[in-house]
């Protein structure tokens, strides 16, 4: 497999200023200050961690999948990728990555999209967008469904074929693999630790993820 740039980090967990374990299927809303480093750990492997980033000072500015892909001229996120905002400004830079490939085309699952993808009867299952909405409703900070823009799926492998097909491959991730991002602006991070039970990409078994932040 190509276009994978592996890079380990020297940061030590015991020196982190935040260390949060997020069970599978739960949301998480967290701020990251400019200059801080965020690590997301795929504790048990092949979990999808669905994340949208906002400018904490002006949440109308959000992560943009298309600006990120356009800026680097390609679709895969790995070491060196700069995550761009809807205003085409750098939000975060991937500075370490032991997984090597992350997706930004696959989006976040929703009850409604589950009816389309799997079966009409799947609508009452838990989903990432339910997670996003409940986190935003409780936070009550003026963000809502219109702000649920195409996200990053950390640890997911979604290749595009030369003839324009989209595939959901076995994850390239594994237990303990991680990705680290340096915040280039003050960031509000909205996470859903994906509860999808219909997709083989996580072996039908969603698992916890760990979040660490260093100054």
């Amino acid at each position: 497999m190509t276009a994978i740039r592996l890079q380990e980090s020297a940061l030590q967990a015991e020196r982190a200023v935040l260390n949060h374990k997020l069970p599978s299927g739960e949301p998480y809303l967290q701020t990251i200050k400019q200059g801080q480093t965020l690590r997301i750990v795929d504790l048990e492997g092949n979990q999808a961690v669905d994340v949208i980033f906002y400018n904490a000072q002006d949440p109308a500015e959000h992560y943009s999948a298309t600006d990120t892909m356009l800026s680097q001229g390609g679709i895969y996120l790995t070491t060196g990728t700069v995550l761009m905002s809807s205003e085409a400004r750098p939000m975060l830079t991937i500075v370490a990555d032991t997984c090597g490939r992350h997706d930004t085309l696959g989006g976040a699952c929703a009850a409604e999209s589950n009816t389309v993808r799997y079966a009409l009867q799947k609508k009452f299952m838990h989903s990432c967008r339910d997670n996003y909405l409940i986190a935003l409703q409780h936070a009550d900070i003026g963000l809502g469904k219109r702000d649920l823009v195409p996200n990053v799926n950390f640890f997911m492998n979604v290749p595009v074929t030369p003839d324009g097909g989209l595939k959901f491959e076995d994850g390239v991730s594994g237990p303990g693999k991680y990705v680290e991002l340096r915040a280039e602006m003050d960031i509000l991070m909205l996470v859903s630790n994906c509860p999808q039970l219909n997709n083989p990409c996580n072996a039908y078994n969603p698992t916890p993820a760990q979040f660490l932040i260093w100054d």
């Binding site: 276009a3 085309l105 009850a111 409604e112 996200n151 030369p162």
Partner: protein, 267 residues
């Protein structure tokens, strides 16, 4: 394909409405009794329409290398809008052609592609913004160039969605009709210059009442050093909604379910 260099004079002002029958020049197969309106959009232009369920929009490249960047919203509830990842993953595709449907974030088909002679339309490339335009093409402002000024696709769409109360927060990833962007083994974008030829056509059938906004500014990956956006012809007509044996319904089970979910709004 005839040349569209010259736009004909308007019809006589003594006609009841001074609307030229542009469609006869680029979509003459349409049934005159069903055509609602037609338009020739200049390169770099932008506009928006509300398309009722059961109407169709024929889009025709009038010059080689056209691009039309379109965003779509439910006109009844504009919080519901085209969703690029949902549409791509449901149909396991990174391009659009006949049979595909453009799905909303609520699992419904906003529009289905019922005709396509171009074969590939880009959902990934995003929009040309003012900064990128300036870096690539330089600057031409109204003061010196009047309506030959350079216009970015992003600003064109912001103007159009602004007419309907939507803001930059609501600007979504567009569909770039007529443009082809493939992905190589390394994951890099490969833009196909001049992909759509003059006369190439694609048609959307609206499965919901849909607000569309579009710009004919160049694709952001177009490597051309000259700002030369191309004209696109539009013709809207009454096609009726998707029947039971509809091609798009049968294209994939996911398409059938998305059109079904849209039908449920119009029982």
């Amino acid at each position: 394909m005839e040349s569209f260099t010259e736009i004909p004079a308007n019809p006589s002002v003594t006609d009841p409405v001074d609307v030229p029958a542009h469609w006869k020049r680029f979509a003459p197969d349409l049934d005159e009794s069903k055509v609602m309106w037609s338009e020739i959009v200049p390169g770099g232009g932008h506009w928006s329409y509300v398309m009722p369920r059961g109407s169709s929009l024929r889009m025709v490249a009038l010059e080689d290398g056209a691009n039309l960047s379109m965003v779509l919203y439910s006109s009844r509830e504009k919080l519901e809008r085209y969703n690029m990842p949902d549409s791509l993953k449901a149909q396991h595709t990174a391009h659009y052609t006949r049979g595909h449907v453009l799905m909303s974030d609520m699992g419904r088909s906003l529009a289905s592609i019922t005709l396509d002679t171009v074969g590939w339309h880009d959902p990934m490339g995003g929009l040309l913004d003012a900064e990128r335009l300036k870096q690539q093409y330089g600057e031409r402002r109204f003061d010196t160039h009047r309506n030959a000024m350079y216009r970015s696709g992003k600003d064109g769409l912001l103007i159009e969605i602004g007419k309907h109360g939507l803001s930059r927060r609501d600007l979504i990833a567009p569909v770039n009709f007529f443009s082809k962007v493939s992905v190589d083994e390394e994951g890099r974008f490969q833009f196909a210059p001049g992909h759509a030829k003059a006369g190439g056509a694609v048609q959307l059938r609206f499965d919901m009442d849909t607000l569309i906004a579009f710009s004919t500014a160049p694709h952001p990956l177009d490597p051309s050093s000259a700002y030369a956006p191309k004209k696109v012809g539009l013709a809207a007509w009454r096609s009726g909604p998707a029947l039971k044996d509809d091609f798009c319904r049968a294209f994939r089970p996911e398409c059938a379910r998305a059109i079904h979910n849209a039908d449920m709004l119009y029982l």
